[in-house]
Subunit: 207 residues, 4 copies
């Protein structure tokens, strides 16, 4: 397990950097996406609601508790519950990133319950995977504006399946997490790369 430590200021600086990078990639259009880090004191630093990630500043990162309740006078992301449920489930998780790319949006709308990926070298980027001879089954949940209900469906899935490094919400995007900001960013890049490869492959073969 990682031995990273995050105070609020360091976490906010990391989230600003990740937000800007995600914007350059086109993964967070139109104020979409949200990003969080679990702080050393057990609180969570998370992007506020409605912030454009390409223009993110530390002033638009706020603290919430593990139930997602604001610890300062700002409004956290509408999807805060999806972040904190992951932190509550697994003490090793230190960062959660949600992006909203073209690849994740299109593939998740076309998938039924899961997206199956296999025989890609880049899957070794996921913590715990050490060979391309792996089949990764990424769960896809149908979209829901009721975050409590959506979080409950995610919890039910995670309770009864082998660990996965991320999941998709249909027409909405990717959630991924890890034991540090660096691990989570590596997972994010691996997923978005896999989605692009999958789209390219389907264009050429699924006919």
């Amino acid at each position: 397990m990682s031995s990273v430590t995050y105070g609020f200021e360091a976490a906010a600086a990391e989230l600003v950097r990740v937000g800007h990078a995600a914007a350059v990639h086109g993964w967070v259009p139109a104020t979409s996406g949200n990003f969080s880090v679990r702080l050393d004191n057990g609180e969570v630093a998370i992007t506020v609601s409605g912030a454009h990630k390409g223009e993110l500043t530390a002033g638009r990162i706020m603290r919430v508790d593990l139930q997602g309740r604001p610890l300062e006078d700002k409004r956290p992301s509408a999807e805060t519950l999806l972040h904190v449920q992951l932190y509550r489930r697994d003490p090793a998780i230190r960062a959660v990133f949600h992006t909203h790319s073209i690849g994740s949006t299109v593939l998740s709308r076309m998938a039924q319950d899961e997206l199956v990926l296999t025989e890609f070298e880049v899957m070794k980027a996921f913590t715990g995977i050490d060979t391309h001879e792996t089949t990764l089954r990424v769960p896809v949940f149908s979209n829901d504006q009721d975050m409590t209900r959506l979080a409950a469906r995610v919890a039910t899935f995670l309770d009864s399946n082998d660990p996965v490094p991320g999941y998709l919400i249909a027409g909405h995007g990717l959630y991924t997490w890890g034991a540090s900001v660096a691990d989570t960013l590596r997972h994010l890049e691996a997923f978005e790369f896999l989605f692009q490869c999958e789209l390219e492959t389907r264009r050429l073969t699924a006919r």
Copy 2:
């Protein structure tokens, strides 16, 4: 309604910033595209004709009145009428952006009268939409070099339909607007993202 205020200098600075961002995205090739803001004094700040948006400077933003008549000795965009008709119809509109992306060009040429989008989370980026369970019908007008005639067709449509946050002109691009520069930029990013998702989806399914 937004309480934003725009003097000419602030508006011009915003338009320069938006123009450069649109150029980086590839949405305004070859001097295409035009951008405007309604000023606090009721005049409109708009890009001049023929300016390359990636090299836009405040000197290439000019003032016109609500009939589109120049208020200084420069030539406004050829499509100024399409901007000012929107400002005249709705006092809440403070910015109008026209872009000319690959996605909007290709989809608008293939569409008949409208482009129908549904079940995308990003549609919540449009002011007044709060769920992905929405069907957005984006009108598509055939292209016309006669701006008075084209503006009249747009007016007829807007008079007799529910409000929309934007429209397409076939082979020509997108018009979108909002209650502030930030709102309009969010609408623009949401539309361009939706067009890309729609193109990707059609590649995979429309066979």
Copy 3:
């Protein structure tokens, strides 16, 4: 006709700027592409052979005469003949750009003798075209390592057809030109945009 003037230093600075922009777009991979300007004194400033356009400096721009003969001790682009034949034909031409994009490469390989484009608003970016209700027939020449022979085929075509703002060489890319650097860059951006639109459209419809 344009009244632009170009001394060598100003021309070299413009060519460096255009080269860097083309590299950012991915239009000049692996030292491909070449760019020239006709100077006020009748000489031509052109990129040397083998220069990477993303790292272009003024030291890699050289002078040749209208027959393409070097006027200094450097080796000009292998395709210099294709530039100077255009300057000799038409005194109004002040710049010639050759790019090597994915779009121009793929479409030119699939085309027979021409690429036909119609009903695109962006065609108004070409000098002399003022409506989208235009059909542009872009000639496509088969590739040839013998520049004299290739130049002769281009000359034969241009002698016996209406003026065009550019042509393609199969599997090799685009040549375009104009009355100034700005005009030529606008033509280049318009062509590359049209190629992308055409590729997207064919993906969706040509089945």
Copy 4:
């Protein structure tokens, strides 16, 4: 043959520059990719294991010998054997780059034993090729986590075939090399361009 010289510091600076450029292109997602230069003293400078190439620093370049053994207390890339076998085979090789792009990943997974490319002008970017009238057969090896076994298969192929400027590993990416960093970067850009052209062409024709 090139007369380039590389001390460790100059080589490390070049590798940092190449790593950053590859990251901007999206060719090294999620810490994938590795890059090396043969030093004048016969040692090899290579990226360490797990480094993100977009954030590469000289401190993450290390020295190994021609058997791939570390010459300092860092862990070299897991694929170091694939680099050093090339340096041992051919004294003219001064740089080896491995990238992990969408194009190389998708095409290599679909290929059987080779990827055949023909009639592209850009093939002239490969040292020794001077016409587009060339057919380039790029070998594709199946992926393997056992580097000794994979290196042996590569060696067997190279022993019994005409020289090629690179090869693919299925679902894993490209290896390319050259007589200098500049030559190898030109080969890399040419390959990635060819892969994109091939993908585009297959989308339009392979049905």
